[in-house]
C-alpha cells in the first residue's frame, strides 16, 4: 500500500515561487562549466591557480591510489589446448624443398630453427649448402617487406589487388606488353600459374633472367643438339675430369650434387678399391674446385678458348683453322697430357667449362661428343632445370621497355637493378614502364623502384613444388604461419588473373594429383600425404642417349680466336675475371650475417670482396696486400683492396660478384664490398664474365678481415699428404704408422668409457673446404656473429673452422716453410689442402688440467665439457690448447650494440636453438660435439626402449656435408662407421706426438698426380 503523502522541500516548493521553479530546472544549484571547459577557449584559457592545485591534488591522489593497487599477475600457460603434433622441447621435422633439393625443416614450438638435408634427396643425398643452412635466418629478417606497398605506402591486400587488376585491365585493353621477369623457375606449379596468367593477359611474357647466367651452355646445346637445356652432369661416372674455369664443386650449377658425385670417386671407399678419379683444372683465379684439383693450371680468360681448341685438336687429331699454341709451354704440356688421359678414359671422361660464351660451349660439346661423354657422364635427356635464364630475352625486354612498349613489369625473385650488367640502361628503361610490380621479399634495389611491392612469402612459409632435374619433383610445405603480412607471389598472380582455384595450395594439390603423383605411382590424399612425408616424387629416369656432334667447327673456332685476340689485354692492362664467391654467390642473401662471416674457402676473407692478383703482378706494380686499386672496365670502375692470391694466373684479376649491394637490409646497408656486376659485358648474345681492365692504385689501405693470415703449414705434420701412386704402393704412406700402429704410452691408466666413446673421423681427401659445416654449426649452436672489425682482430667465434694451406711446388717437391717461400720466384704452381679443425676432445685434454675453476672437465663418454656459468675467463685453457679451437666471448656479442648484425633483434633471435644457451661476455666456448644432439639421440633411443644405433646421432657439421667427409659415432662399437673409418690405413691424429690423445682422427690427403708434374 503506497503512501500518497507529499513532502515539500520548503515553502518555496509549496508556493512554487518562480525562483524555485527556475532553480529546479538544473540538477546542480550552480551551473557546471562543462561547456566552456570543453569549448576551445576553455581548454586554452589559463587555469586559475586554485583550480590547478585542485586538479594536481586530485591527480596525485588518484595516481597514488592507482599505484597502491598490486599489478595484475598474468599467468602464462603454454598450450592450454595443445596442438597434438607439438610437444614443448621436442623438435618436429617437416619435409620441404630448397632450390630443388629435398630438405627437412627442424621446428621447435612451431618455429623453424634449422634446415637439414633430406637423406634421400636425389641431388646431395642429405648434404646441404651453406646458403641453404643460412636461409632459415632470412625467414626472421626484420628488413623483409612486412606488408604490401603501393608507391611506397602500406595498403591492404584488397586495395593492392583492386589497384593492380584495374591497371592490368587497362593494359589488356591498350594491348601493350606485360613482362614477368623472374630468375629461373623450376617449379611446375609456379610455371603453370604464370602460364594461366599469360592466357588471361595474352600480351604478357615470361622472361627468365639469372644474375649469373648459363645461357652459353643452353644455347650451345640448342645449336649442337637442338636441346636448349642444361644437361645433367654425372661426375661420379667420370674417371678423368677436365674443367676450364668451371667451379663445379662450389658455385657452378649444382655444387652440392657435384661434390657428392665427385667425392664418391676419391673418398675412403674408392681408395680402398685402389680407385681414384683424376681432376685437371684450368682456371684464372683460384676457385674452390681449383683447390681440390689434382693438377691445376693458371690460365688467362683470353687463353681459355685457345686452350680448348688445342685440346680438341689433340683429342681428335684434327687441326681447327687459326689454332695456335699458347705462349706458356707448361700449359701446352698440360693440355697434351689432359688430352692423352681423356682419350684413354673415353666414355668415362668429362670436360666442362665455366664460360658463358656460346661458341666456347659448342666446342666443349664437340670435345665431350668426341670423348663419348653423352649418355655416360653427361645426360641430356633427364636435363637439369636449375638454370634456364636467357640473356638475350632480358636484353630485348630492356629494349622494348626503352621504346615504351612495356606497360607493366613484374619482378619475381629477381633483382636486375642490382645485378644487371648495365644498371643505367635498365633504370632508364624502367622509368618508362608505368606499372612496376615486385614480389621480392625485401625492399631491394629493384623493389625500391617498383610502384607496387607485393611481398612474397619466405619459402618456409609457402606451399609449392620444384623440379631441379627432369623427373625429380620435390614438394614445398610451410613450416610456420606467415611471419609478416605477406602473400605468396603465385597467389597474387592467381588473384590478378581471376584464377578458379581458391588458394595456391589447392592449385598445387590439383597439379600434383593430375600430373605428378602418378609418376611416382601414387594417387589421392594418401599419395599426397606420403609425398609430404618423403618430400619428393622420382619418376623413372629416361635412358640417357648418346649425342653425336655433327656441326662444322671452323666458324666456331674463328669466333673463339677472334674473341681471344679481342679479350687479350695489352701492356699495362689486366684480364678481369668475375666469379661468384662461395659464401655469397649471386648476392641474393647478402643480408645474411652468417654468410657474410663465412670465410671464403680460398682467401679466408670475410665481410668484403677484393681484387685477387698474382705475386708477380703485385711485385711489378709494387703493391701490398690491402692496397686499394680502381679497376676500370666496360666504362665503369670500382675500387677494391688487393689480395695476394697464389695460383692466380699472371696478368689477371679476379673479383667476386654479390657484394656492394645498396638496399635490402641492415647488414647490406652497413656497406659491404663493391658491386662487380657492372663490369660484365654483353658479347655474342650472352653476358660474359671476362673483360679487359685498367687498374690504378688509389693509395688507400684496407685491412681485409681474414680468419687465417698464415697460409702454409711450415712442413709440420699436422697436414699429411701422399700421391695416389705412393698410396697404391703402400696404403700407410705418410700416415706416420707405416704398417704397425704407433702407440703412445701414457703415464697413468686411462679412464674407461663404459658405454659410449664419442669420436670423429675426418677424411681430408673428401673435404672440399666449402664451409657449409661452419654455417650449419652457427645455426645449430647459436654461435654469435662478431662482424668485420672483430674478425680483423682475429676474434671470430666459429666453433669449426677450415684451415687452408698452400704448398708451393718447386721442381718436384712441395715447399711449405715461410723462409723458403720467400725465396721462391714463382709461387703460381700451388697445391692446396683443406683441414676442418674443431675441438679434438682430447682424452688428455691440456685445457682441463689448467682451468682453475673446473669449468672444463672430461665426461665418461670421452667428451671435453665446458660449463659456461662456472667459467671465470682466465683464457688459460685457450692458451694451452695446441689446436687453438677455443673461442672467448671478448664482448657481450648478443646485446652489445657495437656488434649489431641484426642477430640482436628480438624477433630474429627466434631462430636460436632453444637447446643451446647463448654465451655471456667473459666466458670461453668451443665445439661441444653437439652435446644436445647426443642427448636427444639417447632420449629417443630410451623412449623406443632400444640402445643407440650407429647413425642415430649426427653432428650438425657432419649432416650438412655433401662430401660426407665427417663421420661421428661411438668408438666403443667396432662396427660403427666411425670405427671403420678410423681403422683406415690413412688415419692419423693431429699433433698425436704430444700424446694429448685427440678424439678426432684425420685421413691422409691423397693427390692423383703423375710423376710428370708434382
Amino acid at each position: 500500500m503506497d503512501s500518497n503523502k507529499k513532502y515539500w522541500k520548503g515553502l518555496e516548493e509549496l508556493n512554487k515561487t518562480p525562483e524555485f521553479v527556475e532553480k529546479n530546472k538544473h540538477e546542480f544549484a550552480e551551473p557546471v562549466p562543462i561547456e566552456d571547459v570543453l569549448s576551445g577557449d576553455g581548454l586554452l584559457g589559463k587555469t586559475p591557480r586554485r583550480d590547478f592545485l585542485k586538479a594536481v591534488g586530485f591527480g596525485v591522489g588518484a595516481v597514488t591510489l592507482a599505484a597502491c593497487q598490486k599489478a595484475p599477475i598474468h599467468k602464462s600457460i603454454p598450450y592450454l589446448i595443445k596442438p597434438e603434433e607439438v610437444t614443448p622441447g621436442v623438435a618436429n621435422y617437416y619435409s620441404s624443398t630448397y632450390e630443388g633439393s629435398a630438405i627437412l625443416v627442424k621446428t621447435r614450438e612451431g618455429r623453424p630453427i634449422k634446415v637439414e638435408g633430406n637423406p634421400n634427396d636425389l641431388l646431395a643425398k642429405g648434404g646441404l649448402s651453406a646458403q641453404a643452412q643460412a636461409s632459415v635466418l632470412d625467414l626472421y629478417d626484420v628488413s623483409r617487406v612486412q606488408s604490401p606497398l603501393v608507391n611506397g605506402e602500406g595498403h591492404a591486400w584488397s586495395e593492392v589487388d583492386d589497384y593492380v587488376k584495374l591497371e592490368l585491365a587497362k593494359i589488356k585493353d591498350s594491348g601493350k606488353k606485360i613482362a614477368i621477369v623472374s630468375s629461373t623457375i623450376s617449379s611446375p606449379s609456379t610455371l603453370a600459374v604464370i602460364a594461366d596468367f599469360i592466357t588471361e593477359y595474352p600480351t604478357a611474357k615470361h622472361i627468365m633472367y639469372d644474375a649469373v647466367s648459363y645461357t652459353g651452355i643452353i644455347q650451345a646445346n640448342q645449336n649442337s643438339f637442338g636441346k636448349a637445356v642444361l644437361p645433367h652432369y654425372n661426375f661420379d661416372k667420370a674417371d678423368v675430369i677436365v674443367s676450364f674455369a668451371a667451379d663445379f664443386l662450389g658455385t657452378w650449377i649444382s655444387g652440392e650434387e657435384f661434390t657428392r658425385q665427385y667425392v664418391s670417386n676419391r673418398n675412403n671407399k674408392s681408395l680402398q678399391a685402389k680407385k681414384m678419379s683424376r681432376h685437371i683444372q684450368f682456371e684464372t683465379g683460384m676457385s674452390l674446385t681449383g683447390t681440390n684439383a689434382d693438377t691445376r693450371i693458371g690460365l688467362k680468360p683470353s687463353e681459355e678458348g685457345v686452350a680448348l681448341i688445342n685440346l680438341y685438336n689433340a683429342i681428335t687429331g684434327t687441326t681447327l683453322p687459326g689454332s695456335k699454341k699458347l705462349a706458356d709451354n707448361a700449359v701446352n704440356n698440360a693440355i697434351t697430357l689432359a688430352a692423352k688421359e681423356l682419350v684413354a678414359a673415353k666414355g668415362k671422361a668429362l670436360v666442362v667449362a665455366g664460360s658463358n660464351d656460346v661458341a666456347t660451349q659448342v666446342l666443349v660439346n664437340a670435345i665431350n661428343a668426341a670423348l663419348g661423354s653423352y649418355g655416360t657422364t653427361i645426360d641430356l635427356d633427364n636435363n637439369s632445370n636449375q638454370y634456364k635464364g636467357n640473356d638475350a630475352d632480358f636484353a630485348e625486354f630492356v629494349n622494348e621497355a626503352k621504346q615504351g612498349q612495356i606497360a607493366a613489369v613484374m619482378f619475381l625473385n629477381a633483382n636486375p637493378v642490382y645485378d644487371y650488367y648495365n644498371t643505367k640502361e635498365l633504370t632508364d628503361a624502367l622509368a618508362k614502364v608505368p606499372l612496376k610490380i615486385s614480389f621480392n621479399t625485401s625492399l631491394d634495389e629493384t623493389s625500391a623502384l617498383a610502384t607496387v611491392v607485393a611481398p612474397n612469402h619466405h619459402y618456409l612459409e609457402s606451399w609449392g613444388d620444384d623440379s631441379a632435374i627432369a623427373g625429380y619433383y620435390t614438394v614445398m610445405q610451410p613450416t610456420i604461419n606467415p611471419v609478416y603480412n605477406t602473400r605468396q607471389a603465385e597467389e597474387s598472380l592467381m588473384i590478378w588473373s581471376n584464377s578458379t582455384a581458391k588458394t595456391y595450395y589447392d592449385y598445387v594439390r590439383a597439379k600434383w594429383d593430375a600430373n605428378i603423383l602418378p609418376l611416382g605411382g601414387l594417387s589421392g590424399q594418401k599419395g599426397w600425404e606420403s609425398v609430404l612425408q618423403t618430400g619428393f616424387v622420382l619418376a623413372a629416369a629416361k635412358p640417357a642417349g648418346a649425342y653425336p656432334f655433327s656441326k662444322d667447327l671452323n666458324a666456331v673456332a674463328q669466333t673463339i680466336m677472334a674473341q681471344s685476340t679481342q679479350q687479350a689485354a695489352g701492356d699495362g692492362a689486366f684480364e678481369l675475371h668475375l666469379y661468384q664467391s662461395s659464401a655469397l654467390r649471386s648476392g641474393k642473401q647478402a643480408n645474411n650475417p652468417w654468410l657474410q662471416e663465412l670465410p671464403d674457402p680460398v682467401s679466408k676473407v670475410t665481410w668484403d670482396n677484393f681484387a685477387a692478383m698474382s705475386l708477380t703482378d703485385l711485385k711489378a706494380l709494387n703493391l701490398q696486400e690491402g692496397d686499394v686499386i680502381t679497376i676500370d672496365a666496360n666504362g665503369t670502375s670500382i675500387a677494391l683492396p688487393v689480395l695476394l692470391q697464389p695460383g692466380q694466373a699472371k696478368g689477371t684479376i679476379s673479383v667476386a660478384v654479390g657484394y656492394g649491394r645498396t638496399k635490402g637490409g641492415k647488414v647490406i646497408e652497413s656497406g659491404i664490398g663493391k658491386n662487380a656486376y657492372p663490369l660484365h659485358s654483353f658479347r655474342n648474345g650472352t653476358v660474359q664474365t671476362t673483360a679487359v681492365a685498367k687498374i690504378s692504385a688509389t693509395g688507400d689501405q684496407i685491412i681485409l678481415a681474414q680468419t687465417q693470415t698464415h697460409h702454409s703449414y711450415e712442413g709440420r705434420n699436422v697436414i699429411r699428404e701422399a700421391t695416389f701412386t705412393e698410396y697404391k704402393k703402400n696404403a700407410y704412406v705418410n700416415s706416420g704408422k707405416d704398417g704397425e700402429h704407433k702407440d703412445y704410452k701414457s703415464l697413468w691408466e686411462n679412464y674407461d668409457r663404459p658405454t659410449f666413446n664419442w669420436v670423429m673421423a675426418i677424411d681430408l681427401n673428401a673435404c672440399t673446404g666449402c664451409g657449409a659445416c661452419v654455417v650449419a654449426c652457427n645455426a645449430e649452436n647459436n654461435v654469435p656473429v662478431v662482424g668485420r672489425d672483430e674478425v680483423r682482430r682475429r676474434r671470430e667465434m666459429h666453433w669449426i673452422r677450415i684451415d687452408r694451406y698452400y704448398t708451393f711446388n718447386e721442381e718436384g717437391k712441395g715447399v711449405t716453410e715461410e723462409h723458403e717461400i720467400d725465396q721462391l720466384k714463382n709461387i703460381d704452381n700451388v697445391s692446396v689442402t683443406h683441414q676442418p679443425m674443431l675441438c679434438q676432445h682430447c682424452d688428455h685434454a691440456p685445457c682441463e688440467t689448467v682451468c682453475p675453476v673446473l669449468a672444463t672437465v672430461h665426461s665418461s663418454e670421452g667428451l671435453n665439457h665446458m660449463a659456461y656459468n662456472r667459467c671465470v675467463g682466465t683464457r688459460y685453457c685457450a692458451n694451452n690448447c695446441p689446436f687453438k679451437v677455443r673461442r672467448f666471448n671478448w664482448f657481450n656479442y648478443w646485446n652489445d650494440s657495437r656488434f649489431e648484425n641484426y642477430l640482436q633483434e628480438q624477433h630474429t633471435q627466434l631462430v636460436l636453438n632453444p637447446d643451446v644457451v647463448t654465451r655471456f661476455r667473459g666466458v670461453m666456448e668451443k665445439c661441444t660435439m653437439c652435446i644436445q644432439r647426443i642427448q636427444s639421440g639417447k632420449l629417443q633411443a630410451k623412449m623406443e626402449k632400444r640402445s643407440v644405433k650407429d647413425g642415430d646421432i649426427k653432428m650438425a657439421c657432419q649432416q650438412t656435408c655433401s662430401a660426407n667427409a665427417i663421420i661421428f659415432g661411438n668408438g666403443n662399437d667396432p662396427d660403427s662407421e666411425v670405427s671403420k673409418a678410423l681403422r683406415s690405413e690413412r688415419t692419423y691424429y693431429v699433433l698425436e706426438e704430444l700424446n694429448v690423445q685427440p678424439g678426432i682422427g684425420y685421413q691422409v690427403k691423397v693427390r692423383n698426380t703423375t710423376e710428370l708434374e708434382a
Binding site: 697413468w748 686411462n750 679412464y751 688428455h844 685434454a845 688440467t849 672430461h858
Partner: protein
C-alpha cells in the same frame, strides 16, 4: 720510606750499560727490566732469561697448516667429487704439493707471529708500558724496583759509577701518555 716506585739508570751507550748491569748484579741489586731502543745481545744471558720457545710453536703450526690443506684437497678431489681432469688420476699427489707447502708456511708464520703478540701482550691499542720516553730512542734504561732492601742512594751511586748519564727516581711505574 720515600714515594719512589722505580729507579731508572739511563745510559747512552750499550756497552757502558752492560757494565752497569754487572755492577748492580755484583752488588746484588735486583734488576726489574732493561729497556733499549735496539736489541742488545748477551743481555738476556745476564738477566738469566730462558731461550724463546717460539720456534716450536712455528713448527707445530706449520705441520697443522700442511695437514689441513692436504686433507682438504684430498677430500675435494678424491672423496667428495672425483672427476676426470685431463685424464689425470684423482689422487695426483705431485699437484697437491705446492698448496700444501704454501699453507705450511702461512700457518707457521701467522701462528708464530700471533703467539709472539699474545705472549708479549702486543695488540693494537694496548697502553704502552714505557718507563722512560727516550728508551725507544737513544737511551738504554735499567729499571730497578724500588721495593728492595738495597738503599736507594747506594743504587744511585752504583749507577753513577757505572756511567749512567741520568738517574731517575720515579713515583709512578709508567710514563703517562695523557
Amino acid at each position: 720510606m720515600s714515594s719512589t716506585k722505580y729507579i731508572l739508570g739511563l745510559f747512552d751507550d750499550p756497552d757502558v750499560m752492560m757494565h752497569g748491569i754487572d755492577k748492580l748484579q755484583k752488588n746484588s741489586v735486583p734488576i726489574y727490566d732493561v729497556y733499549t731502543p735496539m736489541p742488545i745481545h748477551g743481555i738476556e744471558a745476564k738477566l738469566g732469561i730462558k731461550d724463546s720457545r717460539l720456534g716450536y710453536a712455528a713448527f707445530l703450526f706449520g705441520c697443522l697448516g700442511g695437514t689441513t690443506i692436504f686433507t682438504l684437497v684430498c677430500y675435494f678431489l678424491v672423496y667428495d667429487w672425483p672427476m676426470n681432469i685431463g685424464g689425470k688420476p684423482h689422487f695426483a699427489v705431485p699437484d697437491f704439493i705446492p698448496v700444501t707447502f704454501e699453507w705450511s708456511v702461512l700457518f707457521a708464520s701467522f701462528g708464530m707471529a700471533f703467539t709472539f703478540f699474545y705472549a708479549t701482550h702486543l695488540f693494537p691499542g694496548r697502553a704502552p708500558r714505557v718507563m722512560d720516553l727516550r728508551a725507544t730512542n737513544d737511551r738504554f734504561v735499567i729499571a730497578i724496583d724500588a721495593k728492595t732492601d738495597v738503599p736507594h742512594d747506594d743504587i744511585t751511586n752504583i749507577l753513577k759509577e757505572a756511567g749512567a748519564v741520568e738517574i731517575k727516581h720515579n713515583d709512578r711505574k709508567y710514563v703517562s701518555y695523557e
